[in-house]
Subunit: 592 residues, 2 copies
């Protein structure tokens, strides 16, 4: 059976040595995050994930969620007590404001916990994860009364939350939403329609489920300009906060899926369910996007987490499994064969995974920190810069970390040979679970379009210019440093590729938008490699400053592996970006 | 529900226009393969796959195989009559000699059928596929009596075959085999031991199951030099050919797997089962490798097949699914949205799949044709050259076609968005099924080692020199041809990369074998890209010769896409090959 160890040491290195979060201790929420406090919190979180959640991962996959004829949904054995322990530990409210019962801790720590929880049990983690997204949306767009009604219970984890966007004919293109909202006259609405793929839509873990639903108010403009956001609880809430009548929203079906079986993916039927407008009429998409950005970063952490847990198990297997002999002669001559970790091709796979996992973690936490600065800084310019960076990096974190996570899960499974294909061994679940992270919260192709079509050109390219400025400044400041040369020189070449690609898009995409579309995925990967390379250079710098420990030496070796073997892919990506849309669009649609 | 259309037109183009199989009509088996005959055979085969086997694919996955307490195994509903129709159609014996009831047709046609069958229903195809492998081994190494006893029934498909290699402690490293064979004294042996991962090890499709088993005769030398091959039927065969006593070989368990649920993956227990030596004592591995090479090419076809069927379904979905608008303005303004095939990123995905599928098919059939020449040519030099080429290309076909197949299955699933993750939609099965092809018949890392460690240096590099000589001759002969320039120029650059990488290995791997191991996977991918590029250049040439048809135009467009966007990856692979083993092996094993 697989095991999981939360990568606490690596996280502490990132928070303290690379990101130096202590320098933000003037920001609210950061006052108390001394390395000792953070270590204690993450140590406790790690223990919970390793000992409480991980043991339910394989059984949860096997059992799945079960819907009864009355529409109730039962989660797998053990999930209820585990969720109770989880919420009593205060983990749902970790980043939420103290006034609603949260711990008010930085988002970056919550991102760390998202990785730990997902590495232990992705399907479990989605229940509180979606609640956190719903809390964020209500905090930003809910009325005071709505906040008072829902947030304390949600922050405590007594009620969970969901996002209801997708409909049978409407996924990426939310302008096609058909779910209707009819004003009742008392400020509430009657909501009718069908939503699909609603994660955690119905279950037995919480007293109430707070659905955030996109719907079209009768007579609203067509398309995305006529979508409003509603809060629609499973049980209506009385004035005194107690639970009232059962609302007319119910789970019509649970989907059979490739993975994340322990999370209920529901068809939700709204039959004149009572809902309340959140924020402004017809501005629902903007309100929902608060949740979406949080969720996209969280999904990046999920991808990373699955890549990490898969790699851990593959490494353990590679150290144990005796098969064949080293190419350079027997390493353990007293045994029937050498462990397969002696083989360079196995090492190559493990080093690749390590370089992608550690680089991805650094990038994700650096990005999550921008969310904190954006939300908490007293300095308007710093808030603006952080928001720019957060917006620019969100599609990259989501897409790159999930694709690397799936690839690492597949490569890890590969190391097990035939055993990796057997359900009982448990590693094929990582592949099936990881697979969803490339799809949900905006399929990765949509992330690439978001990057190229929205994030790059926004505000005259301000976010991108700021990123390139910072990166070039870093390169300039360190290129004379002999010790850093192995990491800086390749990064400089790749940064040049990113600049060329960006320039090419500016010159070729405005007049021919298909050039942007055809380039988008390769551009995102090119950018992602540079972003990981920049984090690796910063990690190398921090590791050099740390001195001679094994940890520091291993970081430097992995940094060099990334620079020598993975970063050069930017040249290929540049060639594809600049190949243009011609070949891509040449065939008629009927030819496929 | 997914559908499948066998790519007959593309195959006919390859056989007639690119490979020109008619020029081999002096070889036995090729006399009758006029384009009309081949078209008729493949047309009938395609119909069977599309109408008989494909409709059982999803249900077979859902139902799986069931083992009863008495050790019998039931295949999914519909498999029995489908198998009966399949064997009565003569498909099992298609490439087998006429003297045993086969059609004696070329292996290249059998490879085509392997793709069609696997595209329709991989799990089904494995039953007759393994039988064909066992037939090949008995043909080459069986005694006359063994051939008379087993082959007519197996060629007719009345009995099926298996390969029994793997044991719990022994997969890649067959020297660790523990299964024992004790001479009875009458020429037979009593075989005892446990074999695992035995595909089609037990089922209800055939009257008898003929197991080919690797075991160690009492007192045999340790390691691979003490392994012998035995034939061990489920039911012993009486002198008159009728079935006798039940042999003591039984299925102890069926594995729960990630995919190919409709094929029974068995733990086989041998408890003094009667077996008969095939070929020479202690030379079992060589005999089994006859099956393995056939099987490796067949697995390449399976990977291709899953990439093809996944792509077909993704293309159909992309033409149908309305979501969003084209970047260049609405294409179907009368509808609520445009079909997603208008998006360049969707096209890029489809074009990539098309370029890999069609190129892979060409490479695989060109390789299968070498097996025919090797087996049938009257000219010893031609036989030798064909064997060299077959040996060199087999690991490439196996690894590259399976990895591209999985990637295309994943990318196709991605195009369905959330729907792709739902079991009912049916495309996630392609990913789960495709996943095994990278693992079985030698995991792809083993293919890479086989290429670099065995196939390249063998006979002083004769096979590789011959390949490079032919490729360079082709480049030289066509580089002045303006019409071919878009395909030839990039191929020339990539062929240069292959030559550099080969040279680097010669100079750096002998003294430091870890350099070969660390380079092996990247070298295989580099070689694979060049091999696909060479096939694409040949296809472009044939398409130009064909004139102005849509088919020819689409080929040329796809050839250019391959040359511009996919082939340049060789530069990256070369950089990785020449990066050496240093970074790869730097970390101590305990650090992982």
């Amino acid at each position: 059976m697989p095991s999981y160890k939360a990568p606490v040491e690596d996280v502490m290195f990132l928070l303290n040595d690379v990101l130096d979060i202590n320098k933000y201790n003037n920001l609210p929420g950061f006052e108390d995050v001394s390395p000792e406090t953070v270590g204690a919190i993450l140590g406790e979180g790690a223990k919970m994930c390793e000992e409480l959640l991980q043991p339910l991962n394989a059984s949860g996959d096997r059992e799945g969620c079960i819907r009864s004829d009355d529409g109730t949904v039962t989660t797998p054995d053990g999930f209820k007590p585990a969720y109770q322990a989880y919420r009593e530990g205060g983990w749902v409210g970790l980043p939420a404001p103290a006034e609603y019962g949260g711990a008010g801790l930085p988002a970056v720590l919550n991102s760390v916990m998202q990785e730990f929880v997902s590495g232990a049990n992705l399907a479990f983690g989605m229940y509180p994860g979606l609640t956190q997204g719903a809390i964020a949306a209500l905090l930003e767009h809910g009325s005071d009364a709505q906040k008072q009604t829902y947030l304390p219970k949600m922050v405590a984890g007594e009620w969970t939350g969901t996002m209801n966007l997708t409909e049978p004919l409407c996924g990426t293109d939310l302008g096609l939403i058909r779910t209707k909202a009819v004003p009742v006259g008392d400020g509430s609405y009657k909501i009718s329609g069908t939503k699909i793929f609603i994660s955690a839509g119905e279950h037995d873990l919480a007293d109430n489920i707070v659905h955030l639903v996109l719907a079209r108010i009768e007579g609203a403009p067509a398309g995305t300009k006529g979508i409003s956001l509603f809060v629609c609880p499973k049980y209506l809430v009385n004035a005194d906060g107690s639970l009232g009548a059962r609302n007319k929203v119910s789970c019509g079906k649970i989907e059979e899926k490739m993975g994340i079986h322990a999370n209920s993916t529901c068809v939700m039927n709204y039959e004149e369910a009572i809902g309340y407008l959140v924020g402004t009429e017809n501005k629902g998409l903007a309100a929902m996007f608060v949740m979406m950005n949080e969720a996209r970063l969280a999904v990046g952490m999920q991808g990373l987490a699955l890549g990490e847990v898969a790699t851990q198990n593959a490494a353990a297997y590679a150290r144990d499994r005796l098969q064949g002999r080293a190419l350079t002669g027997a390493k353990e001559a007293d045994k029937a064969a050498d462990p397969i970790i002696v083989h360079p091709d196995v090492r190559r796979t493990l080093m690749t995974a390590r370089a992608l996992n550690e680089g991805g973690r650094a990038l994700a936490l650096a990005t999550a920190l921008q969310a904190d600065i954006h939300r908490r800084s007293p300095d308007a310019a710093a808030r603006q810069a952080a928001d720019d960076r957060l917006g620019l990096m969100t599609p990259i974190v989501k897409a790159i970390l999930t694709e690397n996570g799936l690839q690492n899960a597949i490569n890890s499974q590969q190391m097990f040979g035939g055993h990796g294909y057997i359900a009982e061994v448990g590693v094929e679940q990582f592949v099936r679970d990881a697979r969803i992270t490339l799809i949900y919260e905006g399929a990765n192709g949509i992330q690439a379009l978001d990057l190229v079509g929205r994030k790059l050109p926004r505000d005259g390219g301000r976010a991108m210019m700021s990123y390139l400025g910072e990166l070039n400044g870093f390169l300039k400041a360190h290129e004379a440093d002999e010790a850093l040369k192995p990491y800086i020189a390749p990064l400089k070449a790749s940064a040049g590729h990113l600049q060329q690609a960006t320039m090419w898009l500016m010159q070729n995409a405005l007049a021919k938008p298909d050039n942007a579309g055809a380039a988008s995925t390769d551009y995102l990967h090119l950018f992602g490699l540079v972003a990981l390379g920049y984090m690796w250079a910063q990690m190398a710098k921090a590791a050099l400053a740390k001195g001679e420990s094994d940890f520091a030496k291993n970081k430097l070796t992995t940094a060099k592996f990334f620079a020598d073997r993975l970063l050069p892919e930017t040249g290929l990506r540049l060639a594809r970006v600049t190949a243009g849309a011609g070949d891509v669009m040449a065939l008629p649609a009927e030819a496929f």
